[in-house]
Symmetry: C2
Subunit: 190 residues, 2 copies
């Protein structure tokens, strides 16, 4: 995806907040214009529709996840280091943009057909790469030999719902979160 | 809550499946009657409304969670044993009834006011009890001294979204899940 203009990024940021507050379906282009304190006609100079905003918002994040996990997988690090980097990736994106992540999780099904396919394909690739990292870690004896699907579910369910928790605790220190969450997910609590 | 009749339980089971498939708002009393192969008038002999079904479905599960965690907290076991029992409780309810749990998670906001208050109060009590167990475990040196809120979020996010994962993997052996998930959540993966 091409890098959008400053103005488009501003529209995306404001819309992410509105989508989260009222739900994607309930938000109108007029609401977005109002929240930006501009005329609706002026908003249409920058962006065609609510769906275009959703595409800019969700596809950018999904591409960041996909490109980063590809780079992590291709690196020469150990499986445990790779998993740490994946946890770090989720925390970074969550801390930077919890509203857009909420939209990714709640509203992805409203994407237009081609972008929906692209999104689902990226999500599947992401899970496949994560699965391969965990399985290699088990095969190499780096990771405990528990059921790989249970390990994958356990870690992904936590890092994927982080935006819900972090959205309510904005004053939580991001470094405390990083250090503690990596420890808890990798080493457990006992 | 009083124990509902056999017929009411059947209505709840069929409705849980429909709510999950089509979304609570899109399901009509007529759809439910049709799925049970009875006349709508006959359905109304047993149950007044879709909301009454939702109350029966969600409040029963919420009460089971609340009563069981109270009993776990009051027992003489160690904090780690108590956390294991809480994980077990979530797996048991998920395996028994993933459809109703989906409704609890997606549709609780459609409960009538008094039941909504009661539900939110139970959910808060549940989290408070779980938090107290974790904090006592840390204070006693049974649980690693990581940030308590991160530990609580990490475990709850996994066991609360289990219904999503398990709903897609119905053939997954419940005992394999229990053994592995307890190990992964308590002892980590390395």
């Amino acid at each position: 995806m091409q890098k959008p203009s400053e103005r488009k990024l501003e529209i995306v940021t404001v819309s992410a907040r509105l989508f989260k507050e009222k739900g994607y379906s309930a938000v109108t282009m007029r609401d977005i214009a109002q929240a930006m304190d501009i005329k609706a006609a002026s908003l249409y100079n920058h962006i065609k529709s609510k769906q275009e905003i959703l595409v800019l918002m969700i596809i950018a994040i999904a591409e960041e996840y996909t490109e980063t996990i590809r780079a992590i997988a291709a690196s020469g690090e150990t499986s445990v280091e790779k998993i740490e980097k994946v946890i770090q990736l989720h925390i970074d994106i969550t801390v930077r943009n919890p509203d857009a992540l909420a939209s990714l999780n709640n509203d992805w099904m409203h994407l237009p057909k081609p972008e929906l396919q692209y999104f689902l394909q990226m999500r599947e690739e992401y899970e496949d790469i994560f699965r391969a990292i965990v399985k290699k870690g088990i095969a190499d004896g780096e990771i405990a030999a528990y059921n790989a699907e249970v390990i994958i579910f356990s870690i992904l369910s936590t890092i994927r719902t982080l935006y819900l928790w972090y959205g309510k605790k904005k004053d939580f220190n991001a470094n405390v979160l990083k250090t503690n969450l990596k420890k808890v997910l990798l080493e457990g609590i006992i």
